[in-house]
Symmetry: C2
Subunit: 271 residues, 2 copies
């Protein structure tokens, strides 16, 4: 029996067992459970893990899109990844996650070997107090996955008063619990830590589900190493809530003000 | 012979000939040619057309992601579309565009039957003069596709002085040439009409190529009908230019201030 005492819950959750050169089996434990099925961010991470563990992998992630095609149970799944094309400096992948022979998620990802070029950070990190100056958010008992993150909320508290907020802006410091050095997988997961925009804007609960999320990685390995396990500044807002769907635009920043990811998701909601 | 005199160049470009229930042949004409191969926006449109023309299609687009896996020639291509899953109110699709047996683009899309819900437009259209108050941009002779759009540029002129601009913001009114009533296909194409952010920021030309674009549709059929063929307000900015890639975040607005799409793309560049 492996000694699980020293495995971080995140690493345990994204673990995959190869079943052929292009397929894996996995099962996301209850530690990352959402209200129904696992936390979306951990699903993105486990799919990306399947691609990054493939023996033909070249380069690091620059983009991933995951479409959630149906409910995913807290149960074993199969993941198949397919290398579509390798170019001189990038690689294109498709992945499918199936449960009980039904496709539950599809994904496409691009990996790249980065070159030295002209550089410019046009977007600037929002003004924020330092993490140690912001109170720790007392996470509720459910869903489980929120206890896998330390939240320090600057903007966008959930009050559930039913009094609509003036906007759906969120700004918070976030990091893994327990602390864990940042990698591409955990960064991909953090892009989905935000409360649903419609809960914030309406200050009431409802039925929601992300149907698709796209994340672009501006971070490379040196960026991840610089950030290590310190809190990430996370910012998100909704742009339009219309006839059953709303979007969420989000950015993650290093604590030195470096843009690590830009991300967008479309979310289904019901009144 | 069909009378092509009355076919709009856009409709001609996105035309597909079914070769089986899930496959098509197409060829994007020179009218939408870019410097190398066709304009990216028309490729998104033709892939979406393959999905929307499928006999099992249910609903209208809420999201599409297209990954450009390799160069696409101005030549015939095959398009295959695959219905992954149909749920009560949405459908998941995957598509692949191949040329000479090589995958040139992959795509995933979600269609949905929209329901009536609570609605809120949180993002507001940027302030802009009316289209008739903005001068028509004199499009250059090449690439061909820019002549398929009427540009009225408010922010983000290309001067090519080599003097870096203070930002890469664009704001413009845009519509098809000749005028054409808006539909999901032309809306998807317009999301890609922006000049590359790195050209604007550096005010010089270079090698660039979109590697992936994701568009979310907030517009439904009534929104398209309201907008008809009037100019769309288009806004875009780059957030970070880093080691060979930059992102571009964009929104399209109706001339009545309705958010029609939110879109994001990642672009490869070389110095």
């Amino acid at each position: 029996m492996p000694d699980n005492n020293h495995i971080h819950p995140f690493d345990e959750a994204v673990e995959l067992k190869p079943t052929s050169s292009d397929t894996y089996e996995g099962c996301i434990p209850q530690t990352y459970a959402n209200m129904v099925g696992p936390f979306g961010g951990i699903i993105v991470a486990v799919i990306l893990n399947g691609i990054l563990c493939h023996k033909e992998r070249q380069g690091d992630p620059v983009s991933i899109t995951v479409n959630f095609a149906g409910p995913i149970a807290d149960a074993p799944f199969e993941l198949s990844v397919r290398l579509i094309r390798t170019n001189r400096s990038n690689q294109h992948w498709i992945a499918e996650l199936t449960q009980e022979s039904q496709v539950a998620a599809t994904a496409t990802a691009i990996l790249a070997t980065r070159q030295e070029t002209w550089m410019m950070s046009e977007a600037q990190a929002p003004d924020a107090p330092r993490p140690e100056e912001v109170e720790l958010w007392p996470a509720p008992a459910k869903p489980n996955w929120v206890k896998r993150y330390e939240y320090r909320i600057i903007l966008g508290e959930l009050t559930f008063t039913g009094q609509p907020a003036k906007d759906s802006e969120s700004l918070l410091w976030v990091r893994d619990v327990p602390e864990r050095p940042l990698d591409f997988l955990s960064l991909a997961a953090v892009c989905d830590v935000f409360f649903p925009r419609v809960f914030l804007r309406r200050q009431k609960l409802g039925v929601v589900g992300t149907i698709t999320i796209t994340t672009y990685f501006h971070a490379d390995v040196p960026s991840l190493e610089r950030q290590a396990s310190r809190p990430i500044l996370a910012s998100a807002r909704g742009q339009r809530f219309y006839r059953g769907y709303f979007d969420q635009v989000a950015e993650l920043w290093s604590d030195e003000g470096e843009l690590l990811t830009s991300s967008i998701q479309m979310v289904y909601f019901k009144d």
